[in-house]
Amino acid sequence: MTPTTSTAPALTDPAATDSAVQPHVTADGRQIGGVLMDMRNITLRFGGVVAIKDISFDIREGEIRAIIGPNGAGKSSMMNVMSGFYVPQEGEVWFRGQRRPQMKPYEVARLGIARTFQNIALFDGMSVLDNIMTGRLTMMKSSLLEQALWWGRAEREETWHREKVEKIIDFLEIQNIRKTPVGRLPYGLKKRVELARALAAEPKLLMLDEPMAGMNVEEKEDMSRFILDVNDEFGTTIALIEHDMGVVMDLSDRVVVMDYGRKIGDGTPDQIRSNQQVIDAYLGVAHD
């Protein structure tokens, strides 16, 4: 990786500087910076199915960026491309001003990208605490030998990361289930633990795939509060897929709208609300 973008002109992104939205401070005082991730002309096919068709959009530092669209629009697929889990047939992914080469998902994670999943993907056989600790695996440096003998860095690391994780546990108010195997938790709490695991990675970019699906109003309010707090307190950039329009319009700074793999809208919540194409797409398709 090249350390800075300005010294590597070949890799610098000219589009980033003259993008439509300049860095600014939001009404509630949050700092929106330059482009953090830029998806350019992404096309993704599964055999004959075109899941994503030539879509471009960017995500700016510090913002909450929503991706919405009817079922099957290709939102999760897009997030999987961002994770490096799906390899798009065409298009480029730029991250922090550099073109991201073809990478394995675990390498992407090390760049500071963490996420949650639409269908909860926790490690069912492990306790809540261990699940959250896995969020910090990319930062653990001790060698196998040190770990085998529980000596040197191995023990120090464990204690140090445990302290960090305990802060997140406090933040998300899940102290009392620390030692519970996640398999036994109710759905809403699982979603919260998954968020905790992603937060434990201290990501630059946090991606949430339908974090509120299947929750009741109260749980949704809690989750919204957490998302806002994360964005506010840690300045974490957030990409959010969500079906609940109310939540999306409340939380997000900008919204991308997808339908049948195409992008049909991109802008602030107000702009999206008055976008005729978006209205049509949503009226034409039954969704939850």
């Binding site: 599964f46 999760s76 999987n80 889990f85 799906y86 999943f117 639409q118 269908n119 993907a121």
Partner: protein
């Protein structure tokens, strides 16, 4: 030319061995498709069926060894012999009984377990059946003769002699086995196409949830499919047993159905057949060409290594479609 003809003979014999592997693999596929259970015990079921068949045919007293040891008696046989066809029919009934017992005692209690647990349960089952077979019928090697012709096929030898100048040695038993295997597959096809039970079976294989929701009883399906697999095991047991005697190694040979399945895929009947043939021919050819250089007996591992290497390059198997996993 001579060398080529030898090789050709090896290929033909390999094909015949492959039919045997395919027969056992077929039983696996049936059960896996209908119930998602990876039935490790399929090979032992073949052994058990063959032991039972011999025992019934010769009028052996079941558990004689144990009864004698306990009561100091000298039981051996009832002193009758059954006609092959009667013994086969009775053994088929025993296999149905076994299927019912397995469903009642094992599967019913493991319905919601993950596949690996079910797999391990069938390993336990395999041990149990192996022990049971030995205790019931004795562990000595037995001859099985239900009238399937054996020995070199003179006719083929003469014909090939005339055509190529080299008489192919092909066991008549193998020819019979191939024919019977083909008939079995055809019968299964007919069964699954044209009978009510067969259609239910296909429905379950296609879509578990949907089939259950239209009222097909899963328990009935399990008994049905394990019975069919038991019958297939019986056929395989008869063929293997007639060829090389009924003994424990039969279940080890049946283990070779596993690499066959890896090649052909766990859910494909054509896959089981093609995979069986490939492995049968492959291991015979390998032993023929490479065996002498490395000390022989390569058949012990060739099938597994071939399947392993093949899967590394094509994880979806011969006929499977490439699946992109989702999250």
């Amino acid at each position: 030319m001579e060398q080529f003809l030898y090789a050709a003979e090896v290929v033909v014999n390999g094909l015949m061995a492959g039919v045997m592997y395919a027969l056992v693999a077929l039983g696996f596929v049936l059960i896996y498709k209908a119930s998602g259970v990876f039935n490790y015990a399929q090979g032992v079921m073949a052994l058990f069926a063959a032991l039972t068949l011999v025992g019934l045919q010769n009028g052996q007293v079941p558990f004689a060894h144990m009864i004698n040891a306990t009561f100091g008696t000298h039981l051996d046989t009832f002193g009758w012999t059954l006609p092959a066809i009667v013994a086969i029919a009775l053994t088929a009934l025993v296999m149905v009984g076994l299927a019912i017992a397995i469903e009642k005692l094992v599967l019913k209690h493991l319905v919601n377990q993950v596949p690996i647990i079910l797999f391990m349960a069938t390993i336990g089952l395999a041990w149990f059946l192996e022990g049971l077979g030995d205790v019931m019928w004795g562990a000595d090697i037995k001859m099985l003769d239900v009238g399937v012709p054996k020995g070199a096929s003179e006719a083929l030898m003469t014909v090939t002699e005339q055509w190529t100048g080299y008489g192919f040695y092909i066991d008549r038993l193998d020819i019979w086995a191939a024919a019977i295997a083909a008939m079995l597959v055809a019968a299964l096809m007919v069964f699954s196409q044209y009978t009510k039970q067969g259609r239910a079976l296909r429905a379950v294989a296609d879509d578990h949830q949907a089939a259950l929701s239209v009222g097909i009883s899963l328990r009935f399906i399990w008994v049905l499919v394990w019975s069919i697999a038991g019958f297939v095991a019986l056929v395989a047991g008869i063929m293997w047993g007639s060829k090389s005697g009924v003994q424990f190694s039969l279940s080890l040979i049946a283990l070779k159905a596993l690499p066959v399945l890896m090649l052909g895929g766990f859910t494909s009947i054509p896959g089981a057949i093609v995979g069986g043939l490939i492995i049968g021919v492959g291991e015979k050819l390998f032993e023929f060409y490479v065996g002498p250089l490395v000390g022989g007996a390569t058949e012990n591992w060739f099938a597994y290594v071939l399947a392993l290497i093949f899967l590394v390059f094509r994880p979806q198997g011969l006929f499977g479609e490439k699946i992109i996993e989702r999250v």
